[in-house]
Symmetry: none
Subunit: 197 residues, 4 copies
DNA sequence: AATGAATGAGGCTTCATTCAT
DNA sequence: TATGAATGAAGCCTCATTCAT
């Protein structure tokens, strides 16, 4: 009888938490609900997470790790800032759009308290914004994009557009794919960065 | 004998709720905390609101009513879509930036559950987006702005930028004024709408 | 219908706690058990006590207040240290012996942790010991009692005898009265204090 | 191949339990804490003890066995009841004072429930009291000590004094040695037993 | 309209104990 | 013998809501 690989149970708990929290919200989900869906006892949760909130944080970090790894891999071979920014936009929509339950959590549930959002923002999202700002600064340096606005400001603006599209998709009942909006978003973003006449 | 204006107590409760929820989050705030700050008994809350969630909703609606009224008044006299859009952007940042506690609620606390956000989105935010889309469509019709992207899509993109700026401001510890970013945002938004070369 | 006097419910909770803790021990008693016996809801307990441990502390303090008040009243009129010490011994046994459930708590349950006992000891028991030491010192000053041992030491020794008698009575199944041992204890204590030959 | 002496691990568990329970109290100590300090797995504890409470009982019995053995050895050669009683008092204070952690347990933690204390009292403490009463009766028979009080009663009184001194020492923060009080206690006890004038 | 004491359902978490390896 | 991951029962406490006054 194959002994379950280390971490198999932790993954199961995170998967179960994703489904339950997406369906009922963080506060509407009990630890018992997560345990039941994961097929473990309530107490088992606490062998892997020190409390309920840590489950939510781990969920986000697991997703961000994948996101970051995928991003680093894909952007490595791209020649210029234009290609890289386009790929960032596409990847953002692809990855967020790949798992609706997870998207509900990142777009809605994770925003549930100032303290919480603050903490996430400062760490993982901050790094993401900086990476985007670096690409934009590079494009500004080539004369590709407008220089009258700060690269950090522009990164936030672009992030705002992506985030709004993701949230809008999550809230829309229609069975569309988030990725389907990639062309329009790319068009908007590239247009918005053109140098001023 | 001057009967106290109906709603005087209701206002006090909403004001108290704004402060408490901004400070402790929706789930971290108890009805008793709101009652104490408002100077009423716990039970009195239920004479004005049917449950805790309704307080949050009323909070948002009161803010949106002011927002909408102010918007309608200010936009009425403006000649063209460019002026109107600029004013929308400015007003959005002015009004959100006017009350940090309220901003914390609109930018953070109101996003705390799918059900909740969904409901708000469908009603008040939907109307706001439609109004913005109408202005943009008008600009597109004049040839002022790019027509290769749908006006509704563009409105969402602009809203995303505004929303991100507001959230970023709320999360930033620094004592800046949100309004201070209006010029940059206006610059970005107008740039992003220019017709494609 | 007579509205229950203020504190009536608090008293009921303390009374219920005395019975339950005496029967099942502090850790064997649940807050729900106390609530049920007191005829209140579980949550009501927390309107009067901030946590379970505070019930135990209040229990002890209520008893000590009665003890102290009674002691002060009775000792006031007594002429000399001999009479006062005799009355202290008698009162100790009378009052501890008056409520077996309460005695179980003071003699057994209150001793359940170093931190806890330490705290009680330092405050209320410390004051009691000091009062006793003062009476003994007075007797020493008159030449009534042995002076080769410190009054504080002697007070602890006398307290030890009283405490052991009380504990022994609590643990004995026989239906004796603690007060019945008063004469022997008085005889022992007075004998132990006689000046050395 | 030298098989590790049976009981080597059992001793380690008891030693670990002594330290942990002295530091955190019986209810504040988990089986896992004891196992960790003893360097064994949680489950291993149950190979040597049938449950948590049995650890506490074994602890006490191990201590009492040493106590009793030492007592029997030391008292054997002593000529009269006076010398034996003096040695009992000294030994009590020496042995309790030798291990502060163990003393915390015997003076505080073991008293935590009626059921528990009752059981201990009946067995080991009962035997100790009887031994002491026998010595006292002997002294009474020689005319050495007062006969107007029952030897069993006097033994309890003496035990109360010893127990109170031990508890007082455990609770005192000062770094005194319990043994240092032996002379005073001997003086008190012998004085208290003198025949009445 | 207003009060605020009372309710009681339900959540998170702990931890003694077991058992497959 | 030994392990330690897993169990799951049960407890303390919170707090939205009610209702007698």
């Amino acid at each position: 009888m194959p002994r379950p690989a280390t971490g198999r149970k932790k993954e199961a708990i995170l998967d179960a938490a994703t489904v339950e929290i997406a369906a009922h919200g963080y506060h509407g989900t009990t630890v018992a609900m997560i345990a039941r869906r994961a097929g473990v006892a309530d107490g088992t949760i606490y062998l892997y997470f020190s409390n309920k909130e840590e489950i939510l944080i781990s969920l986000f970090e697991r997703a961000m790790d994948l996101f970051t790894a995928q991003g680093a891999r894909e952007l490595a071979g791209l020649p210029g800032p234009r290609e890289r920014l386009v790929r960032i936009v596409e990847l953002h929509l692809e990855l967020v759009g790949a798992d609706r339950d997870l998207a509900i959590i990142t777009q809605v549930e994770l925003r549930h308290s100032l303290h919480f959002l603050d903490q996430l923002s400062r760490d993982r999202v901050g790094a993401y914004l900086q990476a985007m700002a670096a690409v934009i600064a590079e494009g500004q340096a080539c004369g590709l994009w407008r220089c009258d606005l700060d690269a950090t400001f522009l990164a936030k603006a672009v992030f705002g557009v992506l985030d709004e599209m993701a949230t809008d998709w999550v809230l829309s009942r229609r069975n569309t794919r988030l990725q389907a909006r990639a062309d329009a978003v790319v068009g908007f973003v590239l247009g918005s960065l053109r140098p001023q006449a």
